[in-house]
Amino acid sequence: MTAMKAVEATQKKKSKLNNTVILFIILIVMFSVFSYIGRPFFFSKLNLIPMLNNLSFIGIIAAVLTMVMVSGEIDFSVGGNIGLTACLTALLLERGLPGWQVVIIALCAGLAMGAFNGILVTVIGVNSIMATIGTMFIWRGIGYTLSNGESMLAMNPVIDFIGRGFIFKVIPFPIVLLVFFFTITYVIMNQSKWGRRIYAIGANPLASYLSGINVKRVKFINFLFCGFTASLGGLILTSLSAVGMPQHGQGLELVIVSSIILGGTALGGGRGQILGTLAGVLILSILYNFLTIMNIYYFYIQIVQGSVLILVVSTYEIRQAMVRRRT
């Protein structure tokens, strides 16, 4: 029995390694090809640093959303959350509040939004896709109401530092945040009891409930965490662009969800790797950055984004079906 388990575990480890390694190989190949085609601009400091900055908030949100998705739920409202946070930040700065207070209030607003989603899903029992599509519109609508549809300047030493500051004068602060959040989520998912519970809930909620896991609490805290990081992403985006506008983060949920699924996370939950998500985020961000550099209209990039989402999910489903047929 134990021997079988050990064998299973090694097999699992092997396949996990393979998927993520394949993704990283694809990433390196893509990066080299793009550097060649897009020379000399693609592989230059002028492009890579803004690209990494732009990727940082997508990555932070994706890392935490991976936890939500492994537990079998989803959060589409992150884009709306970014819009609301951006407007709130700019509005509070305009009122003359000190920067650190604005940051705290914005993050608390993110927690509140996450809590609202969590209550809808766990207490009332709404399907999380439907619930968060609804709240996505609410958050964005509140963002529009706060800013009256205009973009507002957001300049403040603290806010500037979040997106454009450097640590030791070399490393951009958003990259530090990105690495920090990926480390935290990696440790949670792979080393802690909490992560084990998340995987268990995603694989079989009833069995996890019967074995004593408080399923609702785990899901609720995941949503809370997701709202928090989404508003942190909003702060980074506000700082990077130096304006708070309600259109910030529009359509971002498409990119984030497709990069998570590309990273190997199952839509129904129970499977997923933080490192895979990192690879997915890097691949898609590089792809979209390359398309922008090649002077392709935003609307056509939108077509690519939609197609990538469908393509990625289809490959996943087809592979799943093949595995099922084999066993």
Binding site: N127, I129, M130, S208, Y297, Q302, G306, E317
Partner: protein, 326 residues
């Protein structure tokens, strides 16, 4: 006792649906709005309410079919926009394709989008929400191919399509909606397709085991939705008088609210067109009332989103059969 219950079973079943509650809500709303604004209960305004919901009503007709079958369609706004702008371009002065052919092309576009959606959802097996979210983005991107043409609608027949009032009071678009709803009700009630659709929505595995061609019927439901999208696209360009790539943006939110409020259960198996029709009037009246009461446009957006969340929460509470602890 049994006899009476049999005799009135139709009425009792009707009372069990959310439709009577909807009628009650509507009456309360009418009273409130007419007290709040003296411009509300005016024939001009009522005409406007009925003519404004044309596009949403036609879209709701198709989405209801999809949702009864347990599916989902978020791509409706984009699809109607695509059908609209393509037909507007074809009707432009220096191209001038004959009108019937334009209509056929528009319908072909809608149906093929529905067919592709259905194919991906059933044959590949992707979650319908994710699929149609993807096609929503793709089709909206395709719409922008014609972004700089800005075609005007000068064709009188197309102009009249969504603008005529019968006897100067009753908008013709409402006639379309009623005809569509009645035909679809009859189809759902009396054809094999309709009964199979309800079975699939109720329990897909059971339907498969019972030998119902699940995939074919689901694909057909998405094609029906696409068909109504193209009609809605034609109505859009007719009422607005031009073709723009952004037409129909965000329609999915409104239509989803209408359909769920109308008592169509998310997940399928339940729903009737009377409820959807009343929900349509309710939502449109709320929109109209907010305009009359001078509610700022951005707050209207929040209220609409909140309405959707409220409606799906009620739906979730109502359809919870046995409360699971997780």
């Amino acid at each position: 006792m049994e006899k009476t219950s049999k005799k009135y079973s139709g009425i009792i079943n009707f009372l069990r649906t959310p439709t009577p509650t909807l009628i009650g809500i509507y009456i309360v709303m009418l009273v409130l709005f007419s007290l709040a604004s003296k411009n509300f209960l005016v024939i001009q305004n009522i005409k406007g309410i009925f003519n404004n919901f044309a596009v949403f009503g036609i879209l709701a007709a198709g989405v209801t079919v999809v949702m009864i079958g347990g599916g989902f369609d978020l791509s409706i706004g984009s699809t109607s926009g695509l059908a609209g702008i393509v037909s507007a371009v074809l009707l432009m002065k220096n191209i001038e394709v004959p009108t019937p052919i334009v209509f056929l092309i528009a319908i072909a576009i809608g149906c093929s989008v529905g067919f592709i959606n259905g194919l991906i959802i059933t044959k590949v097996g992707i979650n319908p929400i994710i699929t149609t979210l993807g096609t929503l983005a793709i089709i909206r991107g395709v719409c922008y191919f014609w972004a700089n043409l800005n075609p005007r609608i000068l064709n009188v027949f197309v102009q009249n399509l969504g603008r005529i009032y019968i006897g100067n009071v009753f908008p013709i678009t409402t006639v379309y909606i009623i005809v569509a709803f009645v035909i679809l009700t009859l189809i759902l009630k009396f054809t094999r397709f309709g009964r199979d659709l309800f079975t699939i929505g109720g329990n897909e595995n059971l339907a498969r085991l019972a030998g119902i061609p699940v995939d074919r019927i689901k694909i057909l439901s998405y094609v029906i939705s696409g068909f109504f999208c193209s009609i809605a696209g034609l109505l859009l360009i007719s009422q607005l008088g031009s073709g723009r790539p952004e037409y129909g943006t965000g329609a999915e939110l409104e239509v989803l609210t209408i359909v769920v409020l109308g008592g169509v259960v998310v997940g399928g198996g339940k729903g009737n067109y009377l409820g959807v029709f009343i929900a349509l009037i309710i939502i449109q009246t709320i929109t109209n009332g907010m305009v009359l009461l001078n509610v700022p446009i951005y707050i209207r957006m929040v209220i609409k989103g909140a309405l959707l969340v409220l409606v799906i929460s009620i739906d979730a509470i109502r359809s919870r059969r046995n409360l699971l602890p997780y």
